[in-house]
């Protein structure tokens, strides 16, 4: 059984999360620059004396596919590494994965991780 963990975190926490995952047996990950908001909503910035509102603020999205038995542990690890305790720290969740193929070798399922 495979699951995909998706984490939305503060950009400057990416390195911490990467290091924590590498130290816990995760060997690869995909990262995307994304924008969004949660309960913190947007924030204001200013330009030439007037204010404007940024509704969608920059975040990093990390995606990793892992064996289902590791999911709880890895989610906890990401949560710990990404935490600043301030608003806007982000979210981590997992979803089920149907099939997985390693393109180079043709391996399927857990072997393809």
């Amino acid at each position: 059984m495979l699951e995909m963990i998706t984490a939305i975190i503060k950009p400057h926490k990416l390195d911490d999360v990467k290091e924590a995952l590498l130290a816990n047996g995760v060997e690869g990950m995909t990262v995307t620059e994304v924008r969004g908001f949660g309960r913190q909503r947007g924030k204001t910035e200013n330009f030439r004396g007037s204010e404007y509102n940024i509704d969608f603020i920059p975040k990093m999205k990390i995606e990793i596919v892992v064996p289902a038995e590791n999911v709880d542990r890895l989610i906890a690890i990401i949560g710990e590494a990404a935490k600043t305790g301030k608003i806007g720290d982000g979210k981590v969740w997992s979803t089920g994965v149907g099939k997985l193929l390693r393109v180079r070798t043709g391996e399927m399922g857990n072997e393809a991780i």
Partner: protein, 483 residues
């Protein structure tokens, strides 16, 4: 494609109205221009009689002073344009989140420096006083028509020197990118532009400065400012970077990290070349005389040769490390060559310039390695380029000066060590005292808790934290209604 004929166009009423208005306007314009040429032409451009017989009543001094002033003003504008080069270089070598901050620092340093130099900087530096500080021309009061014996309009000379002071103050910001609080920047800039640069500069360039006092007929020479502008700027930058500490998360080479790459190498490269261009005002303009045509040509050529040698040598020196042709270090290399040739450019020959520039190319690379090894975070390389190459350039005069001009003769041309000693002594004194005073200044500013931004602000990015705006905005759809 454009198959509509004029006739068809004229059928449309609006087009017809526009056409006649346009034609009418042109006709009126031509008429006015024609009348002006006929009516005022001779008055404006002179008649043939003027061209043949120049007014012999004009004293030769008036022509000389005007020519020199025009030359110095051209040089002034070139030196001022170096600000654009600095801004582009520093912004390009910075990370995305600290671009607005570094640009704003350069702009505000320029504004501050202009007012401070007018109020008292120029008075400290170029006013007559004692051998340590000048005190004349505060707020440019009591200005004569020309400055001293230079024959240059006083205000033109002031502006030329302001452009130099501004260069010095901008150099310092380069080593402090990304973590200096803006209030702290204002405070230390007042200290650097208003006091450190003018007072230490007075010792070398001011009337009666004590480093010019002849010792056996040989005194410290600094033609365009390897010591006055670049060593002082670079050493202040070093003190600033040390007092601030590195940016958060900055890992140094010996800790398994390295310098974070600049975010825009196009801007950085063009900025570097603009600096090179501006240097043609910096060095040749320092002749302060358009009549010294031979000197201007020599200085400009020497400047070019040193820059070229510095760029190539720095690139070649770094090549074996990764077998790559590193652009960033090539830019630092030619800038190092330019900084080094700034002091000796008038007194050395082209071959000497090439050697001075080539050595500067090595000094830059070793200097950057040294700064990295000492765990000092200098994002632009200001300390190596301006500080270390400024020191090398000042010393090199004592080695390579040929003795053909003003009897300045270096060690390699049979002048003995007298000139070299004067250079080393003067430069070392400036290095030590600049470092001590500026480090104390930074520590004093740090006491006000304005020198460095908060950790939170630095992580969010100093641009948004200090200036409320990133350098590069996202797609405007992210900004909600109205954009």
């Amino acid at each position: 494609m454009n198959s509509i004929t004029l006739k068809e166009r004229l059928r449309d009423k609006d087009r017809r109205r526009f056409f006649f208005a346009f034609l009418g306007g042109k006709a009126i314009g031509l008429l006015v221009a024609g009348l002006a040429i006929v009516g005022f032409g001779p008055w404006l451009i002179g008649t043939a009689a003027h061209a043949v017989a120049p007014n012999a009543d004009v004293p030769i001094g008036d022509v000389v002073n005007a020519t020199n002033t025009a030359w110095v003003m051209v040089a002034t504008f070139l030196v001022f344009f170096m600000q654009a080069g600095f801004m582009m270089l520093e912004a390009g070598f910075a990370r995305t989140r600290e671009v607005v901050n570094v640009l704003q620092e350069c702009i505000v340093d320029t504004c501050l420096c202009a007012l401070l130099f007018w109020a008292f900087g120029f008075a400290f530096m170029f006013g007559v006083g004692n051998s340590f500080i000048g005190h004349e021309f505060f707020f440019l009061n009591g200005a004569p028509s020309t400055y001293g014996s230079t024959g240059i309009g006083f205000m033109a000379f002031f502006l030329f020197q302001f452009a130099f002071a501004d260069t010095c103050s901008t150099i310092t910001s380069g080593a402090m990118v990304g973590r200096t609080g803006f209030k702290g920047d204002l405070l230390y800039s007042i200290g650097v532009s208003g006091f450190i640069y003018p007072i230490f500069g007075h010792w070398i360039w001011g009337p009666g400065g004590f480093l010019q006092t002849a010792r056996g007929g040989v005194w410290m020479r600094d033609f365009a400012g390897s010591t006055v502008v670049h060593t002082i700027g670079g050493i202040v930058a070093l003190a600033g970077a040390m007092a601030l500490g590195p940016r958060i998360g900055r890992k140094f080479k010996r800790d398994g990290g390295g310098l974070p790459p600049g975010h825009d190498l196009t801007i950085a490269a063009i900025g570097g070349v603009i600096l090179w261009f501006g240097w043609y005002g910096f060095n040749p303009g320092s002749t302060l005389s358009a009549l010294d045509f031979e000197g201007i040509g020599r200085v400009a050529t020497n400047t070019t040769l040193a820059a070229a040698a510095g760029g190539l040598v720095a690139m070649a020196w770094v090549y074996p490390r990764f077998k790559k042709w590193d652009m960033g270090i090539t830019i630092n290399g030619f800038l190092g060559g330019l900084v080094a040739i700034t002091a000796p450019c008038y007194w050395v020959n082209p071959f000497g310039s090439v050697v001075i520039g080539a050595v500067a190319g090595v000094v830059v690379v070793l200097g950057i390695d040294f700064i990295e090894h000492m765990r000092i975070d200098d994002p632009i390389g200001a300390v190596a380029v301006h500080g270390f190459c400024g020191i090398w350039g000042t010393w090199s005069l004592g080695l390579f000066a040929t003795g053909q001009w003003n009897d300045v003769k270096g060690l390699f041309w049979g002048g003995g060590v007298k000139q070299l000693w004067a250079q080393v002594w003067g430069n070392t004194l400036i290095v030590v005292i600049t470092f001590v005073v500026s480090y104390a200044l930074f520590k004093a500013v740090a006491l006000t808790k304005t020198l460095r931004v908060s950790e939170e602000g630095e992580l969010e990015g100093i641009d948004i934290h200090e200036h409320g705006s990133p350098a590069y905005h996202p797609e405007s759809a992210f900004m909600g209604k109205g954009y």
